[in-house]
Every structure is written in C-alpha cells, then in structure tokens.
C-alpha cells in the first residue's frame, strides 16, 4: 500500500524539515529576492547568505567566472552583518513562515560564539549553519575547516552559546573530510553539511591576468558533483549525525544520488542560477521518484545504496 503523498520529513535533532530540499547559503540571498518564483515555505528550509558580526564589503570585482560545467566565485563573504540581517532581512522570512537556517562565519572561535549567542534568542531562526570552510577569504574561514581540532573547537563554542540545532559546513579542500566531520560530531554538532566550494583558479590568456581579482575562488556547480557525492558517502559512513549533501545539484536525479549515498537532505546552490526554480523542480522530482518506486517515506531511500 503506497500513500499518494510519500512522507518527505527529515529531522535534525528536534527540528523537523518538511522536506529534504534546501537552498545553499549564498545562492538564494535572504529568501525574498526569488520569492516571486519560489515560495520559501515550500522548501525544507532556506539557508541564508553567510552572516558575520560586522558587515563585509567583500572582494573587488571580477568576482565570478564560468568554468566547464561550473563556476568560480570569490565574493569574499560580502554581507550586511548580523544586526541588519535581523532587523531588515529576517522579518520577511519569519512572516512567510519559512524554515530559516542562518549561515554564520567569523574570524575567531569567539566571533562564531558571539554570532551563535545573538541568533539564539531571535524568533524565526530554526538552526545555524557554521561555515568553517569558505575557501575564498584569505584570513578566517579556511583554517578552521582544514584542521580537525580547530573544527572541534568552533563547534563546541557555537554549541555552548546556543540551543538551536547546529550544522557544521565542511570544506572539501582536505585530505580526509571524515576526520573533520568526526571532529565536528565530537564538538557537539547536530549535523554536518558538505561540500563547500573547491578552491580553483582561472586565467584570461589574453590579459594573462587571473579571471578573479582574488586570484583563487571557489568552484561550484555540476562539475564538482562526483567529488561531493563521494565525500558525502564517505562521511555518512563515518559519523552518526545527519549529513546534508551539497554540490552540483540541478536535477532530481542529482539530488537522489546524494540521498541514496546517505544524505538526509540536500542543498541547491549554483543550480538556482541555472534555473531559479531548480529547488521546486528537484522537490517534485524526488516525490515522483518515491511514488514510482513505491516508497512511503524518504527514509526508505536515504542511504539505500547497494554497494
């Protein structure tokens, strides 16, 4: 007997996501920009652009360049700062009734803690995602994401400072991502999400200049999907907390690969640029797949890889 609507709910600690399709930080703004195309309420959650204590101007242009089946970005974590975010951006999402996950970044363990503390008491925020991995900022970011001990310390600090579910977002620019994932789990993370962008570079052969002012940027999009699926599979086998799969998802089939590999949910990033309705397209495709395969619940699919 198959229900006409399969159960798509997934949990991160006590937080229930109505479905496993989320927007990846930095690719869906603050939920309002695309609201006329994608109703944030339909998504499992909206993960907003990375927020820091103070606003950041970001890197000089050029900041983006297309590469084969991917793109490099060196935005430099431009954001309006936590204060303005809470006052100017959050209200729309709160009133919309969407599940909101705030992506945070800092230059020090303390800064991460302060952000967590501030957000903890703000209504309308359902979880925090900690970006310890954004590769295109010279100071900050990187260091935490590539060192297990640093990752554990940031996690523990954020954990201590807020009661919200804590998701640690991992960097792929490491030899063994499972060691970082385990460190986050030890630190008290409720979930890990991966992958962030892979460090890359492109050169304009006419000017012989880097195509990004920052020289190095983060590679995202379909090009990185096989690397992301591999790391998600390795990580789900290494930790017992939920894993969110990210990397190159543009179609339902892409998302299903991550879920079958063991991801409890997926985030769509660059896919939103390729097709602003990608999240809805993926969500409906997952539902269709479950029906066709006579699965009552997404949990019959998650981690069902026959290897």
């Amino acid at each position: 007997m198959v229900r006409d609507k399969p159960d798509l709910q997934v949990k991160i600690r006590e937080l229930v996501l109505k479905n496993p399709v989320l927007t990846a930080s930095g690719t869906f703004g603050y939920g309002r920009e695309l609201a006329s195309l994608v109703d944030p309420v339909r998504l499992g959650a909206v993960i907003v652009k990375g927020i820091s204590l103070q606003s950041r101007a970001g890197n000089p242009p050029p900041r983006i360049v297309e590469t084969p089946c991917g793109m490099l970005n060196a935005i430099g974590l431009e954001n309006i700062g936590v204060e303005k975010f809470i006052n100017e951006k959050l209200p729309f999402l709160r009133e919309s009734g969407a599940c909101v996950i705030v992506n945070i970044l800092g230059d020090s363990v303390e800064e991460y803690g302060q952000l967590a503390e501030i957000l903890d008491n703000v209504p309308g925020i359902h979880a925090v995602e900690v970006n310890i991995s954004c590769p295109n900022v010279k100071q900050g970011g990187v260091a935490f994401g590539i060192d297990p001990e640093a990752a554990r310390r940031v996690t523990a600090e954020v954990r201590k400072k807020c009661r919200l579910p804590v998701i640690i977002k991992l960097s792929p620019n490491v030899t063994d991502i499972t060691s970082i994932a385990r460190a986050a789990e030890d630190g008290g993370a409720d979930a890990v999400s991966l992958i962030n962008t892979i460090q890359g570079m492109a050169i304009d052969i006419q000017t012989r200049r880097p195509r990004l002012a920052n020289v190095i940027g983060g590679l995202s999009g379909p090009a990185i999907k096989p690397v992301a699926v591999r790391m998600v599979w390795q990580t789900t086998n290494a930790v017992s907390i939920p894993v969110m799969g990210i990397g190159g998802i543009t179609t339902p089939g892409d998302a299903l690969e991550f879920l079958i590999a063991g991801a409890s949910a997926v985030q769509i990033g660059t896919g939103n640029f390729i097709n602003p309705k990608a999240t809805i397209h993926v969500l409906e495709g997952i539902e269709k797949y479950l029906l066709e395969h006579e699965m009552n619940s997404i949990h019959e699919l998650i981690g069902s890889l026959n290897d």
């Binding site: 690719t27 703004g29 920009e33 970001g58 900041r63 360049v65 793109m71 660059t270 640029f273």
Partner: protein, 263 residues
C-alpha cells in the same frame, strides 16, 4: 519577475556579427521598462552553464513579445545565433533597475556598439511620455557596416539622430564624446542616458560632470544569477555616494547615476 520557456518568433541577422531575436514572452513584456534586462539560457545541456544577461531592446506588452539585440562574442551567443524559429529558451525577467526618466526635460541618449540595444526601447518610451521634450540620439560604432543597420532602428519622428564611427565610414570620424561636446553645448539642461563599452561610459561621465549634466549609465559585468542573490556583479561605488563598498549591477542597476559609480 517571471521565468518562462519563451518561444523564438524570429531570429535574424541585424548587422555584422549582430542578431535580432524576437521572443514570445508574456508576463515579461508587460512588465518591461527601459534599461531592464533578461537572463537567457539557450541550452538544456550543462555547457554553457549559466544564463546570460541581455538588455531589452524593444517590446510589446499588448503582443507579449520582447526583442533582444545581441553580438556574438562567445559560447552562448554563438549558440543563440544558430537557434531557430520555434525553439524555446529559458528567459527570466524583467530584471534590474532601468533608466529614471521621470524628471527628464531634454534628453540625450548616447550609445556605443552593442550598447545601442537598450536605447531603442528607451527612446520609444520617452516619445510616449512627453512630446515637447527634445530627444537627441548619439550613436557610435566601429564602422558604418556595423552602425548603419542599428541606427536605422532610430529612424523615428521626434528623434534627432547623430552618428560617429571610429573609421569615419559613417557620420563623424571619431568617438561619440566629440559630438556630445558640440551637440549639447547649445543648451545646458540635458539629462544624459548612456550605454556602451566602459571606456566610452567613462568619457561620457567625465564630460557630464564637467558640464554639469546629470547622467545615467547602463553598466555591464559578468553575472551568475541576475537577481541579486549571488553578489557576483559588484562594481565599486563612488566614495561620495554614501554607499561605501560595492554596487550590484543586477539589482542596484544596470542603470546608475554616473555620480554613484567609482570610475
């Protein structure tokens, strides 16, 4: 803002290496304003990956059609040039902040190269809104072969069109800013609206400052989303513009007051 699979009604060569693309785009056409743009994705495959921004050259709300004028420079435009009547393209728009012509007295449109594209829709809008005002259209191009066919679009009563080419094969032999100087000198209350390559816009903005003409420029940058979410389309803002840091071409622009941009 709408996302549709727009059918190609017509695709025709307009000038050397430049094509004119007419799309059935209900919902977008009705909402279009001069200076706004659309994001177009010509393929379902993943290379090229990102949609590309194109200004609205012309449109008809009643017929629900939009027209794009594009130059072939790379992957997507090469594919677009090969596309055929009946095919469908992913189109998102209208996007961005267009030209502000609410308070305009006399207006001077300055276009260079493919930057001429958005000026047609703008000119038509200006003709609609106010009949008394003077409308000069200064168009520049590399050669007559490139410029002549584009200039023809502006062969409309009420528009005073002046041309310049780098090689002198049509109109004034030189850059468009030469013409601005003598042409606008006559009167002083001009609103200048410019679109074209960065060096031209820089020269135009410099000239306008010197003469105290208010000036708006339509800028181009690489774009990933076109909708204000990726922060990829940053341009440095003028220190004195209040906004320290960067402007975003896709949502603060593509049209800016010249004085807000760091040149």
């Amino acid at each position: 803002m709408k996302q549709i699979d727009a059918e190609i009604l017509e695709i025709e060569p307009a000038a050397k290496n430049i094509f004119r693309l007419t799309l059935k785009a209900p919902g977008i056409a009705e909402a279009a304003a001069p200076g706004q743009f659309v994001m177009i994705r010509p393929v379902s495959a993943l290379d090229p990956l990102l949609p590309r921004p194109f200004s609205l050259h012309d449109w008809s709300g009643s017929q629900g059609t939009i027209i794009i004028l594009f130059r072939v420079v790379g992957k997507s435009t090469r594919i677009l040039a090969k596309s055929r009547h009946g095919q469908k393209l992913q189109v998102v728009g209208p996007l961005g902040k267009g030209f502000d012509i609410t308070s305009a007295e006399n207006v001077c449109l300055v276009g260079g190269g493919i930057g001429i594209a958005p000026l047609l829709g703008l000119a038509k809008q200006l003709l609609k809104t106010d009949t008394k005002r003077e409308i000069s259209v200064l168009l520049g191009g590399s050669s007559g072969a490139e410029l002549a066919p584009l200039a023809e679009y502006f062969d409309i009563p009420g528009l005073a069109v002046v041309l310049a080419t780098d090689d002198g094969t049509l109109g004034h032999h030189g850059v468009i800013t030469d013409l601005m100087a003598n042409h606008l000198a006559r009167s002083s209350d001009w609103l200048v609206l410019a679109c074209g390559p960065m060096p031209m816009l820089k020269a135009v903005s410099y000239l306008c400052r010197k003469n105290g003409w208010p000036c708006q420029v339509a800028l181009e940058t690489a774009m990933a989303c076109g909708m204000g979410v990726c922060m990829g389309c940053a341009v440095k803002s003028a220190a004195d513009s209040g906004n320290k840091g960067y402007l975003h071409v896709c949502k603060d622009g593509p049209v800016f007051w010249e004085s807000d941009v760091a040149w």
